[in-house]
Subunit: 225 residues, 2 copies
DNA sequence: TTTTTTATTATAGCTGATATAATAATATCA
DNA sequence: TGATATTATTATATCAGCTATAATAAAAAA
């Protein structure tokens, strides 16, 4: 028989809409035609259109607000992270693998930044370390926040959108799984002094030292205490 | 007022089902309850259940076969790749970034494999190189296939599911974007001799040499000719 | 005039029903 | 036994109508 492809109305419609979105016929922020209009245009029922929209919604491409309409969304890497974390979670005991990847990525990121950072990026890193220090001295509880921000700043400083997205994604999946397993195990080690050393190495454009320091930092972060 | 959470029936149901799937209440391969059963269980209409299922389907979590039912699917990283490639494509000129990431990942992968490969994994790599050689000598056209398979074998040999998934994903996005831009530019350089050198270095567990060779290989692959 | 309230309108959200097609299980017949 | 027809189950697709929500316009109050 070899009926190669099975027709599913909502799939065809979702494909068509996605194509028009990527073609910027509906740019980010704009509203898609109302469901009733779309159903008329494609000559299908509103239900089918809605199923197609659910599809687009799940890939983070649009956002529907009741009473207002369906809007094209700037895709958020974090949302993707949670939606694909299920994939990584299907295997078991992957947290270890994930940590290895984070270590690998963060090390490469730091190395790249040490070689290509701009003065502004360096300044931002210094600011972050300073803010973290002030927060700790003031007895604040934002250490974890500043730590995350530190790694995010580094990722951005690579000027590589894909790389920084990947790092963000890994961090997102990691925090998602940690939240799932309720293992927020108290106060993590802040690692302030290590951040300071890393920034200094980056300031000096010392690629090798930066690499080494980041590797150690991640190792310590993993086995915190 | 202050309804902190926006209730959307289909979202709640999709969440619930996803949770039960990841909790292995519905393991891979099993069938979900029929739409009518689910609609009864959640006290919603079948339409709403269908929207929830569309959601799960689009994240590659289930697969519905008309007349048979909805089945839990082993998630395919490639499918995710294509579905999130739109995200990466929203930015412009990301191919360069993507290549940098591939280089980075493949280099790390080769390095890891050189240090932890098993005899069986080494054998598989040798077999791949041999097959490629035979294909080329026979005037076959499968060079690109064997090249992809080579990198895939390496990724798997890390024994790190996350890392190999990431590499696969990058390769998937890359080939997707390449296909989009219709730049299949003829016969790529097979890189057979480089593969052979790499495998030899891996056989000798020469981590540094493997790393260096892979870096060179990727560079040549990028600027092929 | 400015602000607040109310009504209108358009939208998505959801329902229950119907009809059709594909599939799987069962019963029938050779 | 083995092939075929029947039946039941299931998803697919549709429709008309209702509700809930949100943005806007009009009216009322300050």
């Amino acid at each position: 028989m070899s009926s190669a492809k099975r027709f599913k109305a909502y799939e065809a419609i979702a494909d068509q809409l996605l194509q028009e979105i990527t073609a910027k016929i509906y740019p980010v922020g704009t509203r898609l035609p109302a469901e009733r209009e779309l159903s008329e245009r494609f000559s299908v029922s509103r239900t089918t259109v809605r199923e197609a929209i659910r599809y687009l919604e799940s890939i983070g491409c649009v956002e529907t607000r009741a009473g207002a309409g369906t809007f094209v969304k700037r895709q958020d890497i974090r949302q993707i992270a949670t939606s694909i974390s299920a994939t990584f979670l299907q295997g078991s005991a992957l947290n270890c693998d994930l940590l290895e990847v984070r270590m690998l990525l963060d090390t490469e990121i730091a190395t790249l930044v040490a070689s290509r950072r701009t003065a502004e990026q360096l300044q931002a890193l210094k600011q972050n370390v300073e803010d973290m220090q002030n927060d700790i001295e003031a007895g604040g509880s934002g250490a974890q926040y500043f730590d995350e921000a530190f790694h995010l700043l580094l990722a951005k400083a690579t000027n590589n959108a894909v790389l920084s997205s990947l790092a963000e994604m890994c961090a997102g999946i990691y925090s998602y799984t940690v939240n799932l397993s309720h293992e927020v195990s108290g106060m993590p080690h802040s690692g302030l002094s290590q951040h300071q050393e890393i920034v200094t190495a980056i300031e000096n454009r010392d690629v090798k030292k930066t690499r080494m320091l980041m590797k150690q930092h991640i190792l310590k972060t993993i086995y915190y205490g």
